[in-house]
Symmetry: C2
Subunit: 310 residues, 2 copies
């Protein structure tokens, strides 16, 4: 799917791809998008294919963990003491909100989109967050803009109601502007963050900078039918073919897939431990070259080293 | 207006206040909101009054400068080398977008808001940004989510069109998720940022952390009728009455008012220079106590010292 599908089949998401993934246990997703397809009509662009893909797969819960590797504590632009020990799980609603809301229109003079949620959609993603919190530090921070938006008020009221089913979990609320600020001011305060589609899009990118490089962060998108694992970074067309992309986010995504969809706990551990050792031994891709690098590797050499360690 | 108006008149924005400000050259605004009024019906809350106030004053352009004080370069959670020399002007559209869009509704099961812009609204705020850039480093970065939202596509197309009138200014575009990340990764890359209402709300709070304390940042909201000057921070009910609020953001807002609305350039300079000297001499409020403080002052003592230096 994406650009390659447009080039070979004319559409960003061929039915064959949809069927193939629905017939699989899980999907490891690369990244999509590039200038070549940016000027196509909206319905033919890679991003439209991605959104349709998420929708057809029913993956409503996008989990974006932000965890610091001790070896890379200097890679962030934030001070080490601010980020050491950060362990945040961002739970982003992925197939609703303003991304999918209708009506939506652009007549060249006036354009609009609709940010919409129903109670069942909010309960569904809320449950994911509370369940995750039960296995972690038992704190959920729900992010909205309830002081301005009706849709956020429903979000907040629903989370409050739902929290009664999870008496052990502490629920707090934060406005999205404040949350963006708090992620930079004091990221350690967060355990699980749950939020809507576009707020989650923005906050998870902010959180990636806490970690130091967007090339490090995996994600899992789950629902009732299947699961998709993908790095949170995009296709980075500006560095395509140069061999300097950081493959770690994709490899960690594969580890998450082994752990959560394929029940291959041990394989997942092996991959994650190898990555830690590789980092400890000073292997770096270019984006991290400035941080205690002993050897800077290109994309595939980094993959080879990880395989060797495994 | 706000809580005090609710308590004394029953509504968050009395007509008297509207008339009073419209009959003035400018308005210096405090901050609104507090738990006491959070459970009132939406139309009676302080925030609703604030939004109505902005709308009635026609202040479509909200200017939020983020400038580093050399003396406080250690106050940010970001590393000094990342922020030294940062000088960003965020131009936020203030009376349109999802804050004001209709229809909007919450029936307890389904709720929605509308993010809407028309071309004239985008042109108007775009002009403000380009004009400001002409007096600065001649670079405008327009932030949107055009890969997903129709309303952002109109925004982007309109900015591109408008940029033809400003051949000396370089226009770039950035998706909002990436912009939030870049503000943390490398804030020095920005000169003027122009964006819609809710994206500007989120990004300006993020930028405040680059500067180190939200207690430092002023803002100006301008339009065709009058101008409002206010700190970007809220009313901080958690510290109300403790004498530890930082008054600098409000004082710098007053300086902006003198400069831009009242033509009192010299008075503005005096205030700004006094603040710099006060900081240089080590006076700090509690939020900045950890950063090279010689003396930590309460809110009004800080005001007194600034007056003395003036
Ligand atoms: C490519 C884009 C449509 C996508 C999104 O906004 O969801 C991306 O930014 C992401 O976060 O996965
Ligand atoms: C209080 C709130 C309605 C307001 C906003 O969202 O505009 C505030 O966050 C701001 O940025 O001025």
């Amino acid at each position: 799917m994406g650009g390659i599908a447009i080039d070979t089949t004319g559409v960003p998401l061929p039915q064959e791809t949809v069927d193939g993934v629905l017939n699989s246990d899980a999907c490891l997703f690369g990244a999509i998008g590039g200038e070549k397809w940016d000027t196509l009509p909206r319905e033919l662009r890679p991003e439209t294919g991605l959104l349709k893909f998420r929708e057809e797969m029913g993956v409503y819960a996008n989990l974006r963990p932000a965890i610091i590797y001790d070896e890379l504590v200097n890679a962030s632009t934030l001070k080490p003491e601010v980020i050491t020990g950060v362990d945040i799980m961002i739970v982003r609603e992925l197939i609703g909100g303003i991304y999918f809301g209708k009506p939506r229109e652009n007549d060249g003079f006036k354009a609009f989109n609709t940010m919409v949620y129903t109670k069942p959609e909010i309960v569904r993603i809320g449950k994911t967050a509370f369940e995750l919190a039960m296995k972690r530090d038992k704190r959920v921070c729900s992010v909205d803009k309830a002081n301005v938006l009706e849709v956020s008020q429903l979000w907040r009221d629903t989370m409050n109601e739902l929290s009664k089913d999870y008496p052990e979990v502490t629920l707090s609320h934060m406005y999205v502007d404040n949350a963006a600020m708090q992620l930079v001011r004091n990221p350690k305060q967060f355990d699980v963050i749950v939020t809507g589609n576009i707020f989650g899009d923005i906050l998870s990118d902010t959180a990636s900078m806490v970690v130091g490089s967007i090339g490090l962060l995996p994600s899992a998108s789950t629902g009732d039918k299947t699961a998709i694992y993908e790095p949170i970074h995009g296709s980075a067309p500006d560095i395509a073919g140069m061999g300097i992309a950081n493959p770690l986010a994709t490899i960690v995504s594969a580890a998450m897939m082994l752990r959560y969809s394929l029940n291959e706990e041990k394989a997942a551990d092996l991959i994650e431990e190898s990555i830690k050792s590789v980092l400890k031994d000073g292997y770096r891709t270019k984006d991290l070259a400035a941080y205690d690098a002993k050897e800077v590797l290109n994309t595939s050499a980094m993959g080879d080293v990880i395989v060797k360690y495994i």
